[in-house]
């Protein structure tokens, strides 16, 4: 008897278990089970049928799945984006069926199979505001109602060809995308009624073929996403960056930033959420608060991936220099002094402007990224120092055909440069961020992130660089220059025979005579603007000479030349210098190093 009872109990339990395990895969007991015994907060008061809320066996709407609801007559505000190639239309077919509840306008219990006077009484008349309520504004939701065909995948290289899409994600009768492409209203096994899991963005990358994504930090990082800065309490679906994937930054529905479906209205919030020292390795938030910085918080809604670099408004957003879909970590242990000209992990697959002024989709050299804003565009920064010849277009300043330039875009074979510290030598190529970088940059011995996020030295310099007249020479005063140019060599007058006299004794800064970037070939030649000579007009005045009142430099051969100018009240008229012959520092190393410390 007892054995039988226990057997019976066991069978009942088994049956229950079977029902429970089955429940997830079925509409029964899912959130779409709106019957009186449904599990969700929205359910019927008395009605105990499940299918009836959407389907009816008789006299349904003239739509395929025996539809039991009126279609909404709402005109929806649809998704628009400057970067989409899809022709997005008003939702149709199955999407409209979903929206008959989920736009929050139609009564849930108002079904065709019941008289309108006697609708099904529900706990909520319409879908209450919340995540399930998409409202009539679909511009903040992933687009639906566009044809996903070869034309689209051909136009957008980051969209996979429709043949490659898993059959688990069905398109409409005319290959159009519907709610039901991603969602299966009858199966809530994976949560959110998704057809396939969105863990590690599997759902998204079925269609979106983001270049560089498989190796991107955001796709592979196992860091936990707790302790975010901007939305510390909002729950993310998964625990780690890699698992969350796209939804770290994007919201598929009801996104705060509509066009890019971002979780935050301010673009930089999506980045600073993790990159404020809590989750990502480096604290960028503290960098951009420094005195000189590329501060992304200054502008909101200006950046657009399709922007014309010539006419865009001035701005600096994180995504101007970083492609979050492709950014990868930098290898640790880079050579001191230069990071090399090639593009680094964090800047992979960013658009830019080549040195010849051509737009490139993916930069090859890191300076191309800088030229986006600091070259031909009207948004480029103003001139800081007024010079003999002025140029704000850095692309022109760094042309390799210029009379003199710092070797950013290509090597320069100037034998006059004798002061370079190893491993640099004549013919080396450096990059913008060898000078313009964080003062705490890791590659310069600091503990902070590499890159020109922010620095305490203006204009965003990695080390101190005094440009004021009467600056007392010290290793600190011109630390920027001495990072590559040996101080002993400079002060030992290896190249210019009067360096020590000018810098130490008369206290003129490097910038009084030298332009740090370069002199465009259209504005000077190797005679009057060799050796980066471009006098600072706030320090150097013209001098009367037989050829008239003027400021002039003349290169007369290797390590020799003459100047015509007035500086610190002292007039030079074709005052010559020459340093041809053996290097002095090579002859007197001990004495010079002492002098260097003075």
């Amino acid at each position: 008897m007892t054995r039988q009872v226990s057997k019976l109990c066991g069978m009942v339990m088994l049956g229950l278990l079977a029902t429970l395990s089955q429940a997830d895969e079925s509409v029964v007991n899912s959130l779409h089970d709106l019957s009186v015994r449904g599990p969700g907060p929205i359910r019927a008061i008395h009605e105990n049928e499940i299918c009836i809320f959407c389907h009816t066996p008789h006299n349904g709407a003239p739509q395929t799945p025996l539809w039991n609801r009126e279609n909404p007559r709402t005109h929806y505000r649809i998704y628009r984006s400057s970067t989409t190639d899809a022709r997005i239309d008003q939702p149709s077919g199955p999407s409209k069926m979903c929206l008959s509840c989920h736009d929050g306008s139609m009564a849930l219990g108002n079904v065709l199979s019941r008289p309108q006077t006697h609708p099904i009484v529900m706990t909520a008349r319409t879908i209450p505001p919340g995540t399930a309520d998409l409202s009539n504004d679909l511009s903040d939701d992933h687009p639906i109602g566009f044809r996903y065909d070869r034309a689209l995948s051909n136009a957008d290289p980051q969209i996979r060809a429709p043949e490659l899409i898993s059959s688990k994600l069905p398109l409409g009768t005319h290959d159009e995308m519907h709610c039901t492409t991603c969602h299966d209203p009858h199966n809530n096994q994976l949560g959110d009624f998704l057809r396939i899991s969105d863990q590690m963005s599997v759902m998204c990358i079925t269609c979106h073929d983001l270049q560089g994504w498989p190796h991107a930090s955001h796709a592979t990082s196992g860091k936990r996403t707790s302790g975010r800065t901007v939305d510390p309490v909002e729950r993310l679906k998964y625990a780690t960056v890699a698992d969350n994937g796209c939804i770290n930054c994007h919201k598929i529905h009801s996104a705060n930033e509509r066009e890019r479906l971002l979780r935050f209205r301010r673009e930089e919030d999506g980045c600073l959420n993790c990159h404020s020292g809590t989750i990502a390795n480096f604290n960028i938030a503290s960098e951009i608060r420094k005195r000189s910085s590329h501060d992304p918080t200054r502008r909101t809604g200006v950046h657009d991936p399709t922007e014309n670099t010539l006419t865009m408004r001035r701005h600096s957003e994180c995504t101007d220099c970083h492609n979050p879909h492709a950014a990868a970590p930098n290898p640790i242990g880079l050579v001191r002094g230069t990071l090399g000209p090639l593009v680094k992990g964090p800047n992979l697959r960013v658009s830019g402007i080549s040195i010849s002024g051509r737009e490139v989709d993916h930069i090859s050299y890191s300076y191309e990224m800088c030229l986006k804003c600091h070259a031909d565009g009207v948004a480029r920064p103003r001139l800081v120092t007024s010079r003999q010849v002025s140029q704000t277009n850095t692309r022109l300043e760094f042309q390799t055909s210029n009379p003199s330039f710092h070797p950013i875009a290509g090597p320069r074979r100037n034998a006059d440069v004798v002061s370079l510290l190893s491993p640099l030598r004549v013919g080396s190529v450096i990059t913008c961020i060898d000078c313009h970088n964080s003062d705490t940059a890791r590659s310069f011995g600091g503990s902070g992130p590499n890159g020109p996020h922010g620095s305490i030295y203006e204009p965003l310099l990695v080390r101190n660089y005094n440009t004021d007249d009467f600056t007392s020479e010290s290793a600190q005063a011109y630390a920027l220059c001495y990072g590559c140019h040996n101080r002993d060599s400079i002060l030992g007058d290896d190249s210019f025979s009067r360096h020590r006299r000018h810098i130490v004794d008369i206290r003129t800064p490097c910038s009084a005579c030298h332009d740090a970037h370069g002199i465009y070939r259209g504005q000077g030649n190797s005679v009057n603007h060799g050796s980066l000579i471009n006098f600072d007009l706030s320090i150097v005045q013209p001098a009367d000479s037989p050829a008239g009142r003027r400021i002039a430099y003349e290169d007369t051969g290797r390590l020799s030349g003459n100047c015509t100018l007035t500086c610190h009240g002292f007039t030079h008229v074709t005052m010559p210098y020459s340093n041809a012959g053996p290097r002095k520092s090579a002859l007197r190393p001990g004495k010079l190093s002492r002098g260097g410390r003075r």
Partner: protein, 194 residues
Amino acid sequence: MIGAKFLLISVAAVCCAITGLASSGIEGSKHDFSGQTGSDVDKCTACHIPKKDDAPKAAPLWNQRADLKRRFNGQDKRVSRPGDGTRICLQCHDGTIAKPVAGGVKTERFVYTKHPRLFTAGHGRSDHPVGVLYPTFSDDFHPIATVLSKGTVLLPHGRVECTSCHDPHNQTDAPFMLVRSNARSALCLTCHKK
């Protein structure tokens, strides 16, 4: 042991008695036209007209003038000729036919007064497909063997007919003369794997 058996039997007997009392059958149901004014039919002859001369080919022999040109859920590719279990019902229930239901009953359109939208001849409306073969290889449906083994839903010749879901003789007392109660959509989910 014997006590338990006796208990089970007696419980079963009581249950049967209760259901027997509750289930009304054709008598008194909406398909019982015998009491209607002007009608001279009894419970059966409203629908079943036995022809004594020749034996009926199909079990419920019915008037052959049923309008079978109507498309049943035309967008469904699986639609084929409905069987007897559908024809009989549509004799009255397609809403297009205005003809005497049975001798003596007024010639008028069959309308369900409580809910006029029903039986409006399917103009712009859709109904569950009838006369279709039960889909054998589909993830959306339970296997036909599972359905048949439950014994509630009948699939004559492997097809879905009106009588698959409806019992015109109203033996279960379920609303809409269903073959079983549709509480928790149990009837729908007998076939549909949703």
